[in-house]
Amino acid sequence: MASDAEQGQLRPAPESFLPKGLVEDISRDGINPGRRSLLQGAFAAAAASMMAPSLMADDDPDIVNLPSWTRSLGKPVVANPYGQPSPYEANIVRRQSPGLTRTDQSSVSFTPLQNLFGMITPSGLHFERHHQGWVDIDPRRHRLMINGLVDTPLVFTMEELLRMPSVSRIHFLECGANTGLEWGNVAVPTVQYSHGMLSASEFTGVPVSLLLERAGFDRQRATVLLAEGADGSSMTRTINLENALDDALVAYGQNGEMLRPENGYPLRLVVPGVQGVSWVKWLRRLEVGDAPWATKDEVAHYVDLMPDGTHRQYTSIQEAKSVITAPSGGQKLLKQGYYNITGLAWSGRGSVERVEVSVDGGRHWREARLEGPILPKALTRFHFDWVWQGNEALLQSRVTDSTGYIQPSRAELVAVRGTRSIYHNNAIQTWRVRGDGEVHNVQLG
């Protein structure tokens, strides 16, 4: 509803007593001294018309006039058998980037990073990337097959997989094409579209190493795994076996419940640190092999074009990256004073060691506070105290990971890889805070 958005930048009032024009002006331009007195007048008038026992000019009507929810019986349990967010959070949803794709089945929806907290993405807001639509699979009819270089090809039912020893681990999941629209120039307005192919969950499942051991794989010859989905696309990707034996999971759980259908219900591959396309959803088969498969998403897509005309093939690891999520592009600071700049940092090669923040476009950096737990191949939340005095500012964050790798600036990255790679853009992001408080996505040079 438009009225929600309009009221949002004001203190919520029990009744809509402000003139619509004024509300819209403030929504667009913020509160200046002239409007502040107008507002106070409106509050006073509204207050006078209410049944407030002794409302003084400084009293907050939301405190002294008890709201309806304080004076009524609440709703019963199980009104929503599966809980839903407050209606006041209706803006915080996954979104498509208009014009990015021509069909909704081979498309992307982005996670609203600008309004999330902590290190876990709510399952319903986990970004989506489907190649031929998503499917609802009956878990009773789902099977996992393991074949290839094994003693005996095996078939597992979901019931059997859920009986096996399980582990739960928190990991980030980032699409290799995240921030891919921004290689050449600024193309999108908000962090949702620039970095929103990023989510993190606690995944529960069976270690791939256990399943391969059970099948008796050929240690001498095996170097790679093929993962294959059960959906119409039956998507396939070649997985680095060494890394898979280390920490990959065949996962059925996500944030304490079963995977969401859009995220692969009832089974998906979890390959920590590796780009999302390899986390094959609706997983039906793992094949042990001794040479890569050069699948469609390893030759026509998810190959990184270099300035010399070659494509880097089998690029998989998501290198260290960070981004300030608030304040970020498309948002607006309404007043001067203290703000907690916050954001996310992660590395596909290990854990986050340090995050630094600059408010002057990278000329000076100070260390941000890291929030624990700091886990390998997971999102780490950082915070930075900042007092905004109404000046122009250029906000950036820069991560160093446990291998000592430092996130590059856009200039440093482009100098090596050019601007046509599409994939694996982990450059430092800049948000420009204008004097009027508006925050815009910019690139510097």
Binding site: P12, E89, I92, R102, P189, N243, R285, A294, T310, L444
Partner: protein, 342 residues
């Protein structure tokens, strides 16, 4: 040594240096059962670059063209050159020099549209992907012979093979030797393994760093609303509300819209995978369907077409039966299709 062999060597070295031990708990050997041969062959349909897994069969360019026009052209264009729905597959810009060298020279030219055939180094990939995932709305309905024919047609569109070419399991290898970008892939990077070496490093400078701070790129004002009104995409009561980017006129128009398009039903049931609001996609546009059937008496007919599918009314591309559409959604969609409302 080929880059492929070097790649595998690197992997083997990495394997040897990895130490891990996994003792199976007692009783675990009873979970999972041996897969039958029939089960493995039903699912293990992948074809590797060395053609391991390729079933026997053959197909020629002319047969390929016929299948293409019936089942592929609606998305990819008659000549595989359409960019309406997906990126173009071929554009006829591959040269004899590219085929000779195995490197598509125009990949260094930003002005040249990158097509699938300009990128794909391995013939096996075309075969594998078409067989497993095409056509778009009915994957895994093509026979091996049909896939051979389609690959032959695609290669012919790219001038890789002649009009009278027959592709079969016996000449895949020699055809691979003509793939225009067969030498265009690089494995010389650190992004395959967790322990790979990075190619770029950032600076550790913390004070008076010598960096450019001039804004060189930003969204122009007219594009600020291209992703919709940002004020409605951000929490609207917190410290950082969204910027209001919507124009007055559009705001008004949105408020006065009366047409009730069943958007949720259309997208949740997969209709929008093949039909768009205006104009042909895989199937006819909803504008054309609604214009043609704008009468209540067409309700039963459309209902039958949705549930049971059909072919031949709008072209040769069959509409699959959409039997999973729920009753509520079905009623909503049919009511909208026959409403005739603008």
């Amino acid at each position: 040594m080929s880059s492929w062999a070097k790649f595998v060597m690197l992997l083997l070295t990495a394997m040897v240096s990895t130490s891990w031990v996994m003792a199976l708990p007692e009783g675990l050997e009873a979970l999972g059962r041996p897969a039958t041969e029939g089960e493995v062959s039903a699912w293990d349909i992948d074809v590797r670059p060395d053609f391991a897994g390729l079933p026997p069969g053959s197909g020629d360019v002319w047969a390929g063209e016929e299948i293409w026009l019936a089942q592929c052209a609606s998305c990819h264009g008659d000549f595989g050159d359409s960019n309406e729905i997906f990126a173009p597959l071929v554009l006829g810009n591959i040269t004899e020099g590219d085929i000779a060298s195995g490197r598509v020279a125009s990949l260094t030219d930003p002005a040249v549209t990158r097509t699938t055939l300009m990128k794909v180094p391995t013939l096996s990939t075309l075969w594998d992907y078409i067989y497993r995932a095409m056509p778009w709305s009915a994957p895994k309905t093509l026979s091996p012979d049909e896939v051979y024919a389609l690959v032959a047609y695609l290669l012919n569109l790219g001038y890789v093979v002649d009009d009278d070419f027959v592709l079969s399991n016996t000449n895949m290898e020699e055809t691979q030797a003509r793939m225009p970008n067969r030498n265009g892939m690089s494995l010389d990077h650190g992004l395959w393994s967790v322990s790979g070496a990075p190619d770029v490093s950032g600076s550790s400078c913390t004070a008076k760093c010598n960096v450019g701070t001039t804004v060189t790129s930003s969204l122009p004002a007219y594009a600020m609303n291209a992703h919709g009104n940002l004020a409605k995409q951000v929490r609207d009561w917190g410290p950082y509300p969204g910027i209001w980017t919507e124009m007055e006129g559009e705001q008004l128009a949105e408020a006065t819209m009366v047409v009730d398009v069943p958007e949720t039903a259309l997208s949740a049931n997969g209709c929008t995978g093949c039909h768009q609001m205006v104009g042909q996609l895989v199937g006819p546009g909803f504008d054309a369907i609604r214009a043609k059937y704008a009468d209540e008496e067409n309700g039963a007919y459309l209902r039958d077409k949705i549930v049971n599918g059909g072919v031949g009314v709008w072209g040769s591309m069959p509409m699959p039966p959409m039997s999973s559409v729920g009753e509520d959604a079905l009623q909503e969609i049919v009511a909208w299709l026959i409403s005739g409302e603008e």
